[in-house]
């Protein structure tokens, strides 16, 4: 039934009132977002053009911090290289590992709830505590991992004392938190229509074909999500690198990650301006990586109704 002009006006006022009320409810969150997130982000952009030690007022230095970073700070390039290497190793391994775990957790076996809890528990462990435990496990002399290698007749490795093995050791540490990604994959797996899988089975498709042509394509949105989150997380790797390699990225700067480099300039050398410039570069790098992933996803992301068949 068409609305009369007066009714229309009433409804408009009601909407506005509802919008205001809604806004009032989200105001605390919006304010905290503006004050505690947006302002610091904008401040970091501004501070990246200044020399600033927290106590004295920032002094405008233009592009000096960026020039120093690109031309006079070899540690910056080392940290970029280390972070990139870590990301290239940790993200694919993390994706494959968490997907494998999710597939296991999706099986119908007894005590599944217990397994799911156990798989997720490590994600709740405090990062410093778990890193310290891993440092003990990676100990070249008395560590569990070398003991296991010796048991199977393999040579013991230097792990965190050896520049060749320190990054792989950090990557292995990162797998400790696979549970979080696995749970997201699990949710994706449970969204896959059983009818499709059953139909494929009736058509004679085995487990691999079902996985390759049904499960994997339907999981691509979840893969995209985990990939983006994984890349962002890897760019921000900090606690294990700092706890195991200190502020110099021992051994031989092999664990000096970009976040550690930012941290030491900000909170150890009190060079907030330069640290802000590093943070801006990290932000842009993450932005570009995320954009590149989304662009590439056009080629491999399978959406419902899409007529591609993997």
């Amino acid at each position: 039934m068409p609305l009369m002009p007066g009714q229309r006006a009433d409804r408009g006022a009601l909407r506005r009132r509802e919008a205001r009320t809604g806004l009032l409810f989200v105001l605390p969150w919006l304010l905290s977002l503006l004050i505690f997130t947006a302002c610091p982000v904008l401040a970091a952009f501004y501070l990246s053009f200044t020399e600033y030690n927290v106590v004295q007022p920032p002094r405008w230095v233009g592009l000096q911090n960026y020039r120093t970073m690109l031309t006079a700070d070899p540690a910056f390039w080392i940290s970029v290289k280390n972070t990139a290497a870590y990301t290239l190793l940790a993200v694919p391994l993390g994706l494959v590992g968490s997907l494998a775990l999710a597939l296991l957790l999706n099986l119908r076996v007894r005590g599944l709830g217990v397994y799911r809890t156990l798989v997720y528990l490590p994600a709740l462990a405090p990062p410093v505590a778990s890193t310290i435990i891993f440092i003990c496990m990676f100990d070249s002399e008395g560590g569990l991992i070398n003991a296991a290698l010796r048991q199977v007749g393999l040579p013991a490795l230097g792990w965190l004392n050896d520049p060749t093995w320190s990054k792989p050791a950090l990557v292995l540490m990162s797998l400790w938190g696979l549970g979080a990604g696995a749970l997201i994959f699990l949710a994706g797996l449970q969204e896959i229509p059983q009818a499709l899988l059953e139909a494929a089975t009736m058509d004679g498709a085995g487990p691999w074909l079902r996985f390759r042509h049904i499960t994997l394509p339907l999981l691509t949105p979840v893969i995209l999500f985990n990939l983006v989150i994984g890349v962002i997380g890897s760019f921000h790797v900090f606690t294990p690198a700092l706890v195991s390699g200190g502020t110099t990225g021992k051994p031989l700067e092999s664990t000096l990650m970009l976040m550690v480099h930012i941290y030491r300039h900000a909170f150890r050398y009190f060079a907030m301006g330069y640290a802000s410039a590093l943070a801006v570069v990290l932000f842009l790098a993450v932005l570009m990586a995320t954009w590149a992933i989304f662009r590439s996803a056009r080629a491999w992301l399978y959406e419902v109704g899409d007529d591609r068949r993997g």
Binding site: E51, V54, S140, G158, N161
Partner: protein, 463 residues
């Protein structure tokens, strides 16, 4: 106005007015909290806020107990409960932020060099207060230790404790080899130390089973070895780094030669074989405590550690031998500093507290946590109970006298306004030298260049 009269005796506040009032009250509370405290009335009791970077609950409880004693001596000053660290946030970051917000604590313990914070305008100069002090007079501190608080001629802190170091050695390992184990018989030169070290070093396959002494490779200790070789890493008087001075290059070349000769030139293998430092590392007990290392550079605070105080073997401590270009022995130290941040409200009262802590409070501190008091007025017969119980009073007295004397021959350290930056650069250089990624000359020259650059930047910015 939304306070609407509804009937003769009722006033109803609508929701908007209520929210406005809440906002107004909250704003007032926030402004009150941020505002400055009113000036003190004569005779009014002052509360001094006091921060420490951490140290654990027991340590902070001990500081609170000392504060209670202090309040009996100075009834007009109340020391607030010790702020024991800043939770998950970096202590210095929080302290600097509070200073910038003009809401600094009145006094603090620092684990970062006061020179570095003074250069950034974060600390109050204490010279005038020191002149009127009861315990903290300048002449009551070992000069090199007090130098760690100086920046551009002014004093910005008190080195309340300064753990001194020496060469700890396992007497039984010496005696087992028929080597005289008296302190006076200990090597006086690097060459003698190196020869002695070889007597103990023993490899079993690829594993370094027993080490004599591992040559210098720790950044924080390098100023000591440099001074032993007649050089220095930082020249505070002339505001310049001298990391790549000829004697320092020679010192590192000596270490590499030693490594090659006694440790197969493979520092990675040495590290893989054990923990050769004087403290627990990544869950690994020091090799010295396992009888796998004859000599190690370690600090005085180890005397409070049960493992040392009640060790089953006999140990002793000796002075450092002198390098080929050096002419006298020196020692090193690692302090806890007391400072008054810039913007502190109660400077005079805070200094009275820090003065007391330097001379009297530190004695109770030492009884529970054996950080060596640096002030000369602190009695020298103050002994750690654990060491007395484990090794006897005579031995404990001898050891503590040794460490107090070491402070008097200490070389200046921790006195650079870019201390942490320089320590990281020196650590990088040492690692590259010992792992043979760079020659001593190149690695030290690289460290010199960046440290001097950072130093000049600080001075140029008007420090």
């Amino acid at each position: 106005m939304s306070i609407m009269p509804r009937g003769p005796a009722r006033t109803v506040i609508d929701r908007r007015a209520f929210l406005r009032l809440i906002g107004l009250a909250g704003g007032t509370a926030v402004l009150a909290a941020c505002g400055t405290s009113p000036p003190l009335e004569v005779g009014e009791r002052v509360t001094v806020s006091f921060w420490t970077p951490g140290g654990g609950g027991e340590f902070c409880a001990q500081l609170d107990a000392i504060a209670k004693d202090f309040q009996q001596h100075s009834p007009g000053i109340h020391i607030g409960p010790t702020q024991c660290g800043t939770g998950e946030q970096e202590f210095t970051e929080v302290l600097l932020a509070r200073i910038a917000a003009d809401n600094a604590p009145d006094a603090a313990i620092l684990w970062t060099s006061p020179a570095a914070l003074a250069a950034r305008g974060a600390l109050q100069p204490l010279d005038q207060l020191i002149q009127t002090a009861q315990y903290a007079l300048a002449e009551n501190w070992p000069p090199a230790v007090l130098a760690s608080c100086r920046f551009t001629g002014k004093n910005y802190g008190l080195p309340v404790t300064a753990g001194s170091c020496g060469l700890w050695y396992n007497r039984e390992m010496f005696e087992h080899k028929g080597i005289p184990a008296g302190r006076d018989n200990f090597p006086k030169t690097w060459e003698e130390l190196r020869r002695l070290s070889q007597e103990f070093t023993f490899w079993k396959g690829d594993r370094l089973e027993i080490a004599g002494f591992i040559p210098w490779h720790v950044a924080e200790e390098l100023p000591i070895w440099s001074a032993l070789n007649g050089a220095q890493l930082y020249d505070a008087a002339n505001r310049r780094y001298t990391i790549d001075a000829e004697r320092n290059v020679a010192m590192m070349a000596y270490a590499v030669d030693w490594l090659n000769q006694e440790y197969r030139g493979d520092f990675a293998q040495v590290l893989r074989s054990g923990n050769w430092e004087g403290y627990e590392l990544a869950g690994r007990k020091p090799a010295f405590m396992d009888g796998r290392q004859a000599m190690v550079l370690a600090y005085s605070w180890n005397v409070g550690d049960t493992a040392h105080a009640q060790s089953t073997f006999r140990w002793d401590v000796a002075r450092f031998p002198v390098g080929p270009s050096g002419h006298q022995t020196v020692a090193g130290y690692w302090p806890n500093w007391l400072v008054i941040p810039k913007g502190a409200r109660h400077v005079a009262q805070a200094f009275t507290w820090l003065d007391y802590l330097s001379g009297v409070g530190v004695q109770a501190w030492f009884r529970h946590f054996p950080d060596l008091p640096a002030n000369r007025l602190v009695p020298r017969d103050l002994l750690p109970a654990g060491l007395v119980a484990g090794k006897g009073e005579a031995f404990a007295q001898d050891i503590m006298t040794f460490f107090r004397d070491q402070l008097d021959i200490a070389t200046p350290m921790w006195d650079s306004p870019v201390q942490d930056f320089a320590t990281d650069q020196i650590r990088r250089a040492l690692e590259r030298i010992m792992h043979k990624v760079a020659t001593p000359k190149n690695a030290l020259a690289e460290a010199q260049k960046v440290c001097q650059g950072a130093l000049e930047k600080v001075f140029k910015s008007g420090a």
